[in-house]
Amino acid sequence: MKILIVDDKASIRATMKIILVHLGLSDITEAVDGEDAWYKINDEAEKGREHMFELIVSDMEMPGMTGLELLRAVRTSPEVGKTPFIMATTVTARQIILETMRLGIQAYIIKPFDAHTVELKLKQAGIL
């Protein structure tokens, strides 16, 4: 399972990575913000279907392109539009949650998360 973790905080990326690796998901790429992620998603997609990310775990609040914008970009893309997407954020503003839900996400993880939560959410998202 090829996973992209998007967060501007190195510590969060590392935490998520540790958890995912513990859950047996070790093919992990990191992106530091929405734009970085968007480039990486498309770069991989260009290499062919088998290179595409199979899950995106993204933060919401990031400098530049936010997680919501990234989600919107992903969902409106014909190539990668169906990639499972998990939000991992502290944002609890209802408009944003509603919007992400409308765009379609597989899980909404509230930071702080722990291994249990992530495991559960990945199960919910059908990843595990």
Partner: protein, 933 residues
């Protein structure tokens, strides 16, 4: 396995704290800027602040730091409103945000110390911003009205439906069961969705929020599926206050509550017979469980060490391309690395002779050496670079300090920072914090006037404090300037006088700058009343001491009514100190170059002549200034073992202590070295009783240190003294020379203290002596040794012999002309020559004779001479020198000698004139060059 996950999180908490600190650091300037810009704040800034607080909240949650999490949440709420443009930051709001910020900072500082922070006050202040009407909404008890018991109809076929029981103890759902479509339920369960029962109140949840029933249904449908709803049934039934629904969603309960804007008490998970169901519940409640004192996992975790996955973890972490450009490194580690780099340099130096030896036979060796040199130097530089920190890290904090103080005392101040990217060693930066704070406080408290006063003086209402930092030649210059009231030297003077810090006599002789410098005296303060900001009487002297302990210096410029400028000059780093290596007897020492004002060479025979004894100290007279001199030999109790050459030395050596003997070996090298140097560069011969006097600066005072020989200036890495010798005042530390020798670094301040130098008593004694001399001279006429020389044909001048360093005879052909400037070559240097007509209204000097002379006065740069057509005589006379109004400035007076009128020059004024002349030629040179460039 999940346990491992938790451990990893714990291990990372320091990383989180570090990031929280970073975010805090970036939050403060953003808040301050937002306050300043008010409604005009740009989105970037707001977003930046919002992101910072948001990250803090996130990080706090991760390390389970509830206090911080809660407070940052309150701050976030306020900033959210700002971001939505429904709130503009006023000073009051900024106050609440900033005090909240302070508390957060305190919390972070106290983290792990087990002290709880009370943050209710700050939190309420923040909440009050959002709810100005309702004060202190602590925990809002929900005004629950129990819904009338709702009975489910049980007429539906059991196969197609499943009964769901709400979990939990909420009275809202007590006794309720819901029948839901089994197919849809199974679908939701297959997706591991949460199934919630929700009670929606018509009044508070919908009407009060201007929300229609459709809207809530819409919302629910965007986040999940509605499995059951009794909305239709409840419609129109007046006794019903709300409706129930069962929904499936991936959202956690708190989020659901947030999205639907329905209280958490009105929703609950529902029971069902599903294997994974327990997991789901546990997942949600796991954090709650963690927060409790004994957070043991509920179910026993299989303790199988999962080798494979652990390995996979480390591998993937290692292989993943890191996107980070910066890395946090422990300072101790850097220090260790730096020490090791020092060792590397040393090893390289030791290796060098071997490689040089080999280079003759093997051409590879020199290449290896070069490579090693380059790499070593590069490593050393890189490590030094690692210790560097931009000054903004410190200066940025003052924005807040300025704002707070200004607000407290109702002054308006703009704070401008320039050159924040200048980098200095972190230890220097740390030590700058206190003095800078003090200086800035002074600026606001004493410098900037109240807005009213400022307007009265037709200045802008808002004062400006500006800190400018720049690099200049290996040093950092920091200028703190304000456009405030300036310092009144008269006021300083009267204060200092009042406090008995100066005497009336002293005051008369003081220059403007010296008067201002009085504020550096211990116990000086001018504030009429003691404010809580400054004026406690401990101030500038502490600032000065602090700056000097950094081997820096401080200067003040001020114009009354216009402002003050404080200039700090500090070294880039404390670790590497350019030092002069000197020796006395067989021992070498390092003297920090910054303390050295100049170096004098006293030849055999002249040592005694030039040293005097005043007030019990040996003193030296230099250009009219007198200062105490310490002999390093006496200071350190160094006995001389090596008297000359010959066999006596060896015999003596046998009796000597091991340490001394070994040191002698070093000393021998040193002396050999020194001799070579003397032969090569120095025209003077070396005698054991000749001496070098290193003139050292100690604040405003000077003192001399006699040493035997000088070596190079080396960049030494100063290491602290071990505890066994730390109490020795004379040493600042130890260091290794390039050749591997250990030497001590002299502590200038310590030496002065150790020798109990009494600068003041020497000064007063000297003053008295001078007065007496003057009186005597006036009464009798003083004996003077004069040298009389002729300029032009028959104009005669005299200078006292002691003011002349040497006389040279020249051939007019040796003179080189550049424009109107005349030069001669002297020992490979160009020496500038002036003739008397360039200073005095006398006849022009004409080169008529075959031989001319150059007189080199002391007290000025050795590269200047005066042309004389002849040296007439040296005389000793006590003849009174007549001074009349016709005497031009540098002429002390006239006297008659063998029928010639001789104008006696005033050495000090003449020297001044020459210096001026030098300046002018420099200036002229510069201005001539300009048109070309």
């Amino acid at each position: 396995m999940s346990n491992d996950g938790h451990d990893c999180l714990d291990a990372m908490s320091s990383e989180f704290i570090a990031e929280i600190k970073d975010d805090l650091a970036s939050l403060e300037p953003a808040l301050l800027a937002m306050e300043k810009k008010g409604a005009g704040t740009d989105d970037d800034l707001i977003n930046h602040a919002f992101r910072s607080i948001h990250s803090i909240k996130g990080g706090a949650g991760f390390i389970n730091f509830k206090e911080l999490s809660s407070l940052s949440h309150a701050m976030e709420n306020v900033l959210m409103r700002v971001r939505e443009k429904t709130l503009v930051i006023t000073s009051d709001i900024a106050d609440a945000l900033l005090t909240g910020f302070d508390k957060m900072k305190l919390m972070v500082e106290r983290i792990g110390k087990g002290e709880a922070c009370d943050y209710e006050k700050e939190k309420i202040a923040l909440q009050n911003i959002l709810n100005p009407d309702k004060k202190a909404l602590g925990s809002l008890a929900s005004t629950t009205q129990f819904p009338s018991v709702h009975k489910d109809s049980d007429y539906l076929p059991a196969e197609a439906y499943q009964v769901l029981k709400p979990l939990g103890t909420s009275t809202i759902f007590q006794g309720h069961e819901f029948l839901v479509d089994k197919k849809r339920l199974d679908h939701a369960l297959a997706g591991q969705k949460f199934i919630y029962a929700v009670y929606v109140r018509f009044e508070t949840d919908l009407r009060a929020r201007n929300k229609g029933e459709d809207a809530i249904v819409d919302d629910i449908q965007s986040i999940g599926d509605i499995l059951f709803s009794d909305l239709e049934e409840s419609r129109g039934q007046e006794e019903r206050e709300g409706f129930f629904c069962v929904i499936s969603t991936i959202l956690d309960l708190p989020l659901l509550s947030q999205v639907l804007e329905i209280g958490k008490t009105q929703m609950t998970l529902v029971d069902r017979q599903f294997a994974d169901y327990e997991t789901l519940v546990k997942g949600v409640s796991s954090r709650v469980a963690k927060d409790k004192p004994a957070p043991e996992p509920v179910e026993p975790v299989p303790a199988e060490p999962d080798e494979d996955s652990a390995q996979g973890a480390s591998e993937s972490i290692l292989s993943a391309s890191s996107t980070a450009q910066t890395l946090r490194i422990n300072v101790d580690l850097i220090s260790r690395l730096m020490n090791r780099a020092g060792e590397l340099v040393l090893a390289r130096n030791q290796l060098r002779p071997f490689l040089a030896e080999n280079a003759k036979e093997n051409s590879l060796a020199s290449g290896i050496m070069q490579n090693l040199d380059m790499v070593t130097t590069d490593i050393q530089e890189a490590i030094m670079q690692m210790r560097m920190q931009p000054v903004i890290d410190l200066m940025g904090k003052y924005k807040r300090v300025v704002r707070d103080i200004a607000r407290r005392i109702s002054k308006k101040v703009d704070f401008i920072l320039e050159g924040g990217d200048v980098e200095v060693d972190r230890t220097v930066l740390e030590k700058l914090a206190n003095p800078l704070t003090h200086l800035i406080r002074n600026c606001i408290d004493h410098g900037i006037e109240s807005p009213k006063e400022r307007v009265g003086r037709s200045k802008p209402e808002t004062g400006t404090i500006r800190i400018k930092t720049s690099h200049q030649g290996g040093q950092v210059h920091i200028t703190i300037s304000d456009d405030g009231a300036g310092i009144d030297p008269q006021l300083i003077l009267s204060k200092a006088f009042e406090k008995g810090l100066v005497t009336e006599d002293q005051v008369d002789k003081m220059t403007q700058k010296e008067k201002i410098a009085l504020i550096f005296l211990p116990g000086f303060t001018t504030s009429e009343e003691i404010t809580d900001i400054s004026g406690r009487g401990v101030g500038m002297d502490v600032v000065k001491t602090n700056i000097e302990s950094l081997r820096g210096r401080i200067e003040i410029d001020t114009v009354k009514g216009e402002g003050t400028r404080v200039h700090l000059i500090i070294p880039l780093t404390l670790a590497i100190v350019p030092s002069l290596i000197v020796s006395t007897g067989a021992f070498k020492f390092a003297i920090p170059q910054v303390s050295i004002k100049e170096i004098l060479y006293l030849e055999k025979g002249t040592v005694q002549n030039q040293m005097e004894n005043i007030a019990g100290s040996e003193v030296l007279r230099l250009r009219g200034r007198i200062f105490p001199v310490i002999r390093l030999r006496t200071l350190l109790g160094i006995r001389t073992y090596i008297e000359a050459t010959g066999t006596g030395e060896k015999e003596e050596e046998k009796r000597k202590a091991l340490a001394d003997r070994r040191q002698d070996a070093v000393g021998q090298d040193a002396i050999e070295d020194s001799k070579k140097r003397m032969q090569k560069k120095d025209r003077r011969r070396h005698h054991w009783d000749t001496t070098y006097v290193i003139v050292l600066k100690l604040g405003e005072n000077l003192f001399g240190l006699c040493v035997d020989a000088l070596y190079d200036i080396e960049e030494v890495v100063v290491e602290p003294l071990s505890e066994y010798i730390r109490h020795l005042k004379c040493f600042a530390g130890t260091t290794l020379l390039g050749n591997g020798d250990v030497i001590t670094v002299l502590d200038i301040q310590g030496i002065a203290a150790f020798s109990s130098l009494k600068f003041d008593s020497i000064k007063t004694a000297e003053e008295k002596r001078n007065e007496a001399k003057e009186k005597e001279a006036k009464a009798k006429g003083e004996k003077r040794n004069l040298i009389i020389f002729c300029s032009g044909k028959n104009e005669y001048f005299a200078l006292e012999l002691k003011n002349i360093s040497r006389l040279e005879s020249l051939n007019p052909g040796d003179i080189h002309y550049t424009g109107h400037l005349k030069y001669v070559e002297y020992k490979g240097h160009a020496v500038l020559l002036f003739s008397m007509d360039e200073f005095l209204p006398v006849n022009e000097f004409e080169l008529t004779t075959d031989e001319i002379f150059a007189v080199f006065p002391k007290h000025i740069s050795s590269r200047v001479g005066i042309i004389a057509s002849a040296i007439i005589d040296t005389i000793e006379t006590d003849q009174l020198i007549d001074r009349d109004d016709t005497c031009p400035e540098p002429v002390l007076g006239k006297l008659f000698m063998d029928g010639r009128m001789v104008q006696v020059l005033d050495p000090d004024k003449f020297a001044e004139m020459i210096e001026e002349k030098l300046m002018m030629t420099k200036g002229a040179g510069a201005s001539r060059e300009n048109p070309h460039s």
